[in-house]
Symmetry: C2
Subunit: 209 residues, 2 copies
């Protein structure tokens, strides 16, 4: 696939379109117009056409898109036909909750091991994944050919853990800690900070009162 710059907002919408197409497929609907996708997900039809145009011509004028074909294309564009080996660092409250979340596996993110520096947690399992000592970070990354590190450690430890993951060869970091992380160029970094989202919500609620 050719590498060219796609706006992140476009990729986020492709993800949302794919979920809507999956829903249409489950309902046995075979074709869909850009207008129908647009109203199904809450954006304009011009936006849908523009987003899809980045990746070539999928639809037929006057007919629309074949649901199954377009869904297949989007899954491929989003890399959902691939598997990624994942290590999770931090088996605290958030890590434990996330380890139970099915959405990782459904998208090809396979959590191979969970590391924690708390001796009391080591040895127990979250779902079917063993919690192991943090000292095994390098060993396990090589052994399982890890692509992605999920960080759920406290903010103060997050940059150090990140540096160790990057040095050990991970290609991407999914950061759930409330810390702005620095990574070298070429490393994919994605921040999902629930606490920031809650505090923005709290801010907006306060100001709207």
């Amino acid at each position: 696939m050719k590498v060219f710059k796609i706006p992140e907002a476009t990729v986020m919408r492709l993800s949302i379109y794919s979920r809507h197409l999956k829903h249409l497929q489950d309902e046995s609907i075979e074709t869909v117009s850009s207008e129908e996708i647009a109203s199904g997900v809450g954006v304009s039809s011009a936006q849908v056409r523009k987003d899809l145009a980045y990746f070539g011509e999928f639809g037929t004028r006057g007919v629309g898109y074949k649901v199954q074909d377009l869904l297949g294309h989007l899954k491929k564009i989003l890399g959902l036909d691939k598997k990624w080996n994942v290590i999770m660092i931090g088996a605290g409250k958030l890590g434990s909750a996330l380890a139970l979340y099915e959405g990782f596996r459904e998208r090809g993110f396979l959590i191979r091991t969970i590391l924690d520096d708390d001796k009391k947690k080591v040895g127990s399992k979250l779902k079917d994944v063993l919690i192991e000592p943090l000292e095994l970070l390098d060993t396990r990354i090589k052994q399982y050919n890890i692509d992605v590190g999920i960080i759920t450690v406290p903010a103060v430890a997050a940059q150090d853990v990140t540096d160790r993951l990057v040095a050990a060869g991970v290609k991407a970091i999914l950061n759930f800690s409330p810390r702005v992380l620095k990574v070298p160029g070429g490393i994919v970094l994605r921040n999902v900070d629930l606490s920031v989202n809650l505090e923005v919500l709290s801010f907006n609620l306060s100001f709207n009162k």
Copy 2:
């Protein structure tokens, strides 16, 4: 507090600064410069000063900020001194995981009840919160004086649930479903779509390969 337009990115950084200041406070550090905050969270010191300037003069030139005072100010700005009554709709895999997340309570978001339309789930508890039938939506929102609705239902049901929450009087929606929601003006909407984040990560990993 006066209502004026603060960029969302600023509010997100204030949230991150507050976490760093909490860390400094825990370490018994009493004063901090904008440079130290900046390097602690990974932004420029000019950015820190600009973000804080929205809310008045907190620091002293050449001395910096008093950690405890600035933290107190930020918590107040972010509304973290308030309590919000929360209803969660959807006790599926994501909802169950989120109900265990301590961060809600720590920020004043008190989950009063969890509703689900699955009869098998109704009656059991997630932590100390009872799962109740979806039919109680209006009753419970009035009874508990609910401010915030957390949506963890499947995409297809999300808009309908949102409309019911808004009609029943909630002021804010925290949407974890993969659906672009429409809400009337004046209702605070915040989307935290983990699946979109995973798919953007997957996209970036695929394109970087």
